[in-house]
Each structure stands twice: as C-alpha cells, then as structure tokens.
Amino acid sequence: MTFIVFRRLTTIAALVTFALPTCRLAAQSAQLSAKLPRETALEVTRLIDSARALSLPTDPLVGVALEGANRHASAERIVRAVRQYIGALHSARDVLGDGALDAEVVSGAGAVLAGVNTSVLRELRAARPKEPLTVPLVVLADLVARGVPLDTASRAVYVAARARARDADFTLLRRFIEQDISAGASPAAATSLRLRNVPGVTPEDLQTQLPVTVPRRPNP
C-alpha cells in the first residue's frame, strides 16, 4: 500500500515538474503571439529559443518584447532590443560564470548595457565570491545612469564590495548619492563622499584602485 502511494506520488510530482517548464514556454509564446504581429512574434520567439539553448534567462527577453509592444515600438526596434539584450546577457554570463544566479546575470547585463566593462564584473565577482552581486550591479548601473562617471562608479562599488558591504549598505549608498545629486552635487563628488560612510570602508580602502583600467569616457 505504502509503495503504491509512494509510486503514485512520485509519478505525479514528476509530471508536475516536467509540466511546469512546458506550461511556461507555452505561456511565453502565447503572450508574444497575442501582443506582437505574427512575423515579429516568430522572430522574437526564435531569438528567445536561441537564448534558452545557451541557458540564458528568457523572462527578461519576453519582457523587453512585450514592453515594446505596449509602448507601440516598431517591430524592427523590438527585434533589435531582444537581440542586443541577448548579447549583453551572454557577456554577463560568460564573466560571472555558469553558477551565477539568473538575477546576477540580468543585473550584469544591465551594467554592461550601461557601459560597464565586463572586466569590472569579473573583479566584482572576485571581490564578492560568495554573496550575490545582484544589488551591487543594480546600484552600479543606477549610478552610471545618474551621471556618475563609469570609472568612479565602478571603483566605488568595487571598494564597497571588497569591504564586505551588505546589500542594505549598497542600497543606502545609492539612495544617499541620489539625494546629493538631486540637491545639486556633482555625481562624482557625491559618490566619493558617500563611499566614506559605507560600513567597513577604511581610509586605506578609499585609496584602492580597480585592478582593471576603466576608460574615462562619458557615460553612454
């Protein structure tokens, strides 16, 4: 009796386990077909299938396509965005490794799209090998988007990561810099100033340079 019940439970659990991804794929495909012109949906689906074959996260790609549809973007632009995103996800995954969280890969892709060099991602991974990089990467991309120069933002996040700053510390750092910028401070000065207040960051840490050279160029 116990064996029969166990066998039945195992069968049902296996069916559910294999059914979930299939349902998810079907749902993604249905969403795209419902919102995009047929040809565009087919092209986007093909691109997403190729991303899936590379074990890249696909939900953000579906999201980009649907965002384009709801913002009434052209088919060409939607396909270009999906293709570009796949490239960034691929770069991030290459650097962060196969064991990276999906969220880390997506955040890393965001940083790459913001103009952050992939070598910075590699150094961040080395500086914070066991803790997820999702929040530091989101903060890095946000700082760049707010006008903090790439080298300043990259170094600040690297120094904080080396000082074992927690996710909450990165969140506060971002918020304080944002407030300073809103109050009229220069983005670079606000970042340098606020980095001093991150718990664990010593005066010596503030002298730390990134092991890689980040080009001093205007943010994209």
Binding site: N70, R71, S107, L113, A114
Partner: protein
C-alpha cells in the same frame, strides 16, 4: 417467519452482502443478526450499519479504475512538491529572502503564502507607491504583468494626499517596472534605482527580490 423482501433488516443485509469484497467477519455478523431476528431475539430497529462496520476497503484499487483515493494522493503530491520547491530553494540559496528596494520607506516587502512561484523561487509581496496628486488613474506595468497597463491598477489613498499604491507578489530576481499615469504617461519610480537599458527611449525602474534560480 415473515417475507424477507419486506423485512428492512434483511433488505439491508442483502445489500451489504451484494457489495464487492465484503469481508468474512462482516458476513458472519450479518448472518448472526438475521438468525437472532428469526429467533425473535433482535429488536425491530437493529442498525445494520453497526452490525456490518467492516466492509473492507479494497487495499489496491482495481486496475484502470480512478478511485477516490487518487484525489488525496494528488493533493498530497502537490503539497509535497510545493514544500520540496521551498526547501530546495532555501537550500540552494541560503540567503536572506527579502525585497531590496531603493527606499524601504516606500516599498515594504513581506513573505506571502505562496511557497514558490513558477520560476522556483520564493515570492515576496512588494508594495509600490507613487505620489501623483493630479492623476486620475495610475497603474503599475512591468515584466511581471506583461507591461499591460490595464493589468495592475493602483489604489488611491483615502487620505487624499495623492498617494497611489498596490502590492504585487514577485518572485526572486531583478524586476523592471514603471508607472503609467492616466493611461498615457510612463514614468519611472522616483525612489527606485534606474534600469540602465532604455530600449524604447524612456527609463524604467528596478526592484530586486533576493534569492532565485541559478543559470
């Protein structure tokens, strides 16, 4: 002896005996009751169901028959699967599971009863807040609702300070979102990190829910 077809005890006993797989002890007890009735020892209102309490449940349902016991098994499997996902996620990602927002004052995160989402991570209830005093309607759009402006309308606070809010369960990961004011104007969350990608020319915001699957 009266006609057995008119005797309720005999009628019920016959029904019991016709059932499949009645066990021997039950048959004996029914027959004993009938004998007592025939001898005039049993009262008229003998409760046959008490006389035959042990109608045997089939230990193994007949092949090809979808027995009632399948449903508890199905439910148990679902519960075990959900618990397994939760335990697995906790084991694989032994990190704090809370939503990390740009500003804790505006978006509190709390665990929700859903043990697992489709992605296998843990869901968190994340509150989104926007102050828009002049708006007639505000909705939340993001990857989690297919960027559909009609999917997640925000609720206007009764205190009348122009605050709009909505709580949404989000799985672990990085979620991109924006607000849509009066069905026409898309704005990022002024309190949250900006998403660097500007696929269609305008900025979105990011919220991170910790944990989640590895690639």
């Amino acid at each position: 002896m009266s006609d057995p077809r008119g005797d309720p005890l005999a009628r019920r006993a016959a029904e019991v005996l016709r059932r499949e797989q009645t066990d021997e002890r039950a048959i004996e007890r029914v027959m004993a009751a009938l004998r007592e009735r025939a001898n005039g020892d049993a009262p008229e209102d003998v409760d046959v169901d008490h006389v035959t309490p042990s109608v045997a449940e089939p230990a193994i349902p007949a092949a090809g028959r979808f027995s009632l016991t399948t449903w508890p098994a199905l439910a148990a499997a679902a519960v075990i699967f959900a618990i397994g996902l939760g335990v697995g996620a906790a084991f694989l990602a032994p990190r704090e599971t809370r939503a990390i927002n740009a500003d804790g004052a505006t978006r509190e995160a709390a665990p929700v009863s859903e043990a697992a989402n489709a992605a296998g991570g843990q869901s968190q209830l994340v509150e989104f807040v926007l102050v828009a005093p002049r708006a007639a309607r505000v909705s939340l759009v993001g990857e989690f609702n297919g960027w559909d402006a009609s999917a997640t309308p925000m609720r206007h606070a009764e205190r009348g300070d122009g605050t709009w809010s909505v709580s949404v369960p989000l799985g672990a990961g990085r979620h991109v979102y924006a607000f849509v004011i009066d069905n026409s104007t898309w704005v990022p969350d002024p309190q949250a990190p900006l998403a660097p990608e500007q696929w269609y020319g305008e900025r979105n915001s990011v919220v991170v829910v910790s944990g989640g699957p590895r690639s």
